[in-house]
């Protein structure tokens, strides 16, 4: 078995671009999924009852589907539903956002629910409106509890971006597998891909551990 690791260095530009796309997807998905998750969570908790069941159905559905299937589904169904010719990147972003929004909604709902009702009641007894109580009392405490969960969702999302490679989004996994197919350097390229993901993901996992130690709430 002769190995030729120079193939990795020769394709460094493509790999760097794939890495950039992976990060772009992660950041963009989170930027969409956090506000949308808050909206869905608030709808589930305080919404008009048909909207509430709709939000619940959405969260339950997407939490119980494999992401790779959602990606394929978005690829074939979104262009027909919307009538737009979406790029693979936009389709991948849509699929990831649909998935992560459902998880985030559940995170925010749990965060808000974890603040005891007595606190809202006390705030209202002091003359605050419900909205004021939510904004000044509940949300600041809920955010603190939600942050560690969001951090681990971030790491899962970073890994899950590899799944949009099946619809030819040129992120790290897709780029590496393309180079493998062109050069037939299977072992080298696949190992390089794993090593790159490891190098990028390992520090993130460690930061998550740190955030969880730092912000964990004990009652």
């Amino acid at each position: 078995m002769t190995l030729d690791w120079s193939v990795v260095w020769q394709h460094r530009d493509a790999l760097a671009q794939g890495t950039a796309t992976t990060f772009l997807l992660t950041v963009a998905t989170m930027a969409i999924a956090v506000p949308c998750g808050i909206v869905v969570a608030v709808l589930r908790l305080y919404g008009w009852s048909p909207l509430r069941s709709l939000a619940t159905a959405y969260v339950e559905l997407f939490r119980n589907l494999p992401l790779i299937l959602v990606v394929y589904w978005a690829f074939y169904v979104l262009p027909i539903l919307t009538g737009l010719g979406l790029s693979p990147l936009a389709t991948g972003l849509a699929a990831l956002s649909l998935n992560v929004t459902a998880y985030n909604a559940e995170t925010f709902r749990a965060g808000i629910n974890s603040i005891r009702r007595g606190q809202v009641e006390a705030a209202m007894a002091l003359g605050m409106t419900r909205l004021q109580a939510l904004r000044r009392v509940v949300v600041p405490q809920a955010l603190r509890r939600v942050l560690p969960v969001l951090a681990s969702t971030w790491v899962s999302l970073f890994k899950d971006t590899s799944l949009v490679s099946v619809i030819a989004v040129t992120e790290l996994a897709y780029v590496s597998m393309q180079i493998r197919a062109q050069t037939f350097r299977v072992l080298e390229m696949l190992t390089a891909m794993a090593a790159l993901y490891w190098l990028l993901g390992y520090p993130q996992a460690k930061i998550v551990d740190w955030i969880q130690r730092r912000w964990s709430v004990t009652e």
Partner: protein, 221 residues
Amino acid sequence: MNFDFGVIADNGRFLGYGVGITVVLSLVSGLTSLVLGLVVALARLYGPRGLRSLIVLYVDSMRAIPVLVVLVWTFFALPIVAGVTMSPFAAALIGLTVHLAAYAAEIVRAGIESVRPGQTRAALALGMSRAQILRRIVLPQAIVRMLPAFGSLLSVTIKDTAIASVIAVPELMRQSETVAGQSFQPIEVFTFAMLLYFLMLYPVTRGVDRVYRRVAHLGRS
């Protein structure tokens, strides 16, 4: 747009075979990763120091590398290194086990550590050996507390088997792709696949909640 769900009926057996493979792969890899996870967790808690840091590295690495990458590497690169050929199913089983065992190990460790150390000390004072304490005092309480986490791990396992489609394991995702490609009716086929996956996953999520509520009192101390 008009939809024709006849394509589902025409390929019923083909898709049904996919469901079978998904179920078998989920159950088998769920079980193997549980066993490996238990061994890894015990080695991390009670093993020698060198082994412990090696296990921490393994667990954290699996948290950093995507399943897709693990599966593709196991199927395409491992045979080159090891010099053996593997069926896609075997590669998926190995890849999923190695990946999920890291998560299982963390669940087991958290469960064991959640049993207060005072109980272990009390048992030691009564003259029990370490192995006895683990078997009679710690594990019976810890296992109940681990149940909800294992439930969500099982649903993660079922979802991850869908990724095995990229290494051509003929499970539901792969079979759906094939039918969608042959019939040119991806919307009908993938929507039906969504329904099937939901029907498999939702009872797991709900069932575990129910079982846990029944047995939760056994884990209290």
